[in-house]
């Protein structure tokens, strides 16, 4: 049960590495949280990319709003608050930051 966090846009090396590893090895209960510039992955235009991610995906609401993406978020991605973020950290065994 790993909470993976990604704070870089989808074409950044950290994002590519994160998606490769999630696709190849993620397990039941693993989750991906998009934050800071990572939320760009939640944009409509990345539907195909997001479909390949085997874990549940969350995105931080304030980072979504700040970037004007609130009306462009893919329906498969759950938009959450900072309080929800804390809850996710508690629920997972560990947090791995893809930086």
């Amino acid at each position: 049960m790993i909470l993976h966090t990604l704070n870089k846009p989808p074409r950044a090396p950290a994002a590519i590495a994160c998606l490769e590893v999630l696709t190849a090895s993620s397990e039941d209960g693993d989750s991906l949280l998009l934050l800071e510039d990572g939320v760009y992955m939640a944009d409509n235009s990345n539907e195909e990319l997001v479909r390949q991610v085997p874990t549940r995906i969350y995105a931080l609401d304030l980072d979504i709003e700040a970037r004007g993406l609130a009306h462009r978020v893919l329906p498969s991605i759950k938009v959450i608050s900072y309080a929800d973020f804390v809850q996710l950290v508690v629920e997972h065994k560990m947090t791995k930051a893809w930086i």
């Binding site: 049960m1 790993i2 090396p13 950290a14 590495a17 490769e20 590893v21 999630l22 190849a24 090895s25 993620s26 397990e27 693993d30 065994k93 560990m94 947090t95 791995k96 930051a97 893809w98 930086i99």
Partner: protein
């Protein structure tokens, strides 16, 4: 004793992450059982023949050789990340244990804590 995994994922001389990560590993080894995973462009940290002195940055690659003296002898690389960059293990400053990309999440889960640099 807690088992901590440090991940090194940035190339060596474009920022402070790599050096900071190495410093953290050395400090962490005083308190916990530490392992290191080199992933993505982080594998470039281990390349032999780095000569950053004229850039004014420290050649910390040589310090990786001291990890064993600090009791850090579990040093891993993701196989695919080496292959993608056409790096052979003979081109690295220290021996590493290869792990396959499709086992990375399971591998990480076996530790108590992961710290990412």
């Amino acid at each position: 004793m807690k088992r901590i995994l440090f991940t090194q994922s940035r190339p060596p001389h474009g920022g402070i992450n790599a050096q900071e990560g190495l410093d953290a590993i050395l400090m962490g080894s005083a308190f916990a059982e530490c392992a290191v995973l080199f992933q993505g462009d982080g594998v470039y940290q281990l390349l032999k023949h780095q000569q950053p002195e004229r850039l004014g940055t420290k050649n910390f690659a040589s310090t990786f050789g001291a990890l064993a003296d600090y009791g850090v002898d579990q040093i891993f690389c993701i196989d695919e990340d080496l292959a993608k960059r056409q790096l052979g293990t003979d081109e690295l400053v220290i021996p590493t244990i290869p792990i396959k990309q499709n086992t990375v999440c399971e591998f990480i889960s076996a530790f108590d804590l992961v710290l990412d640099f």
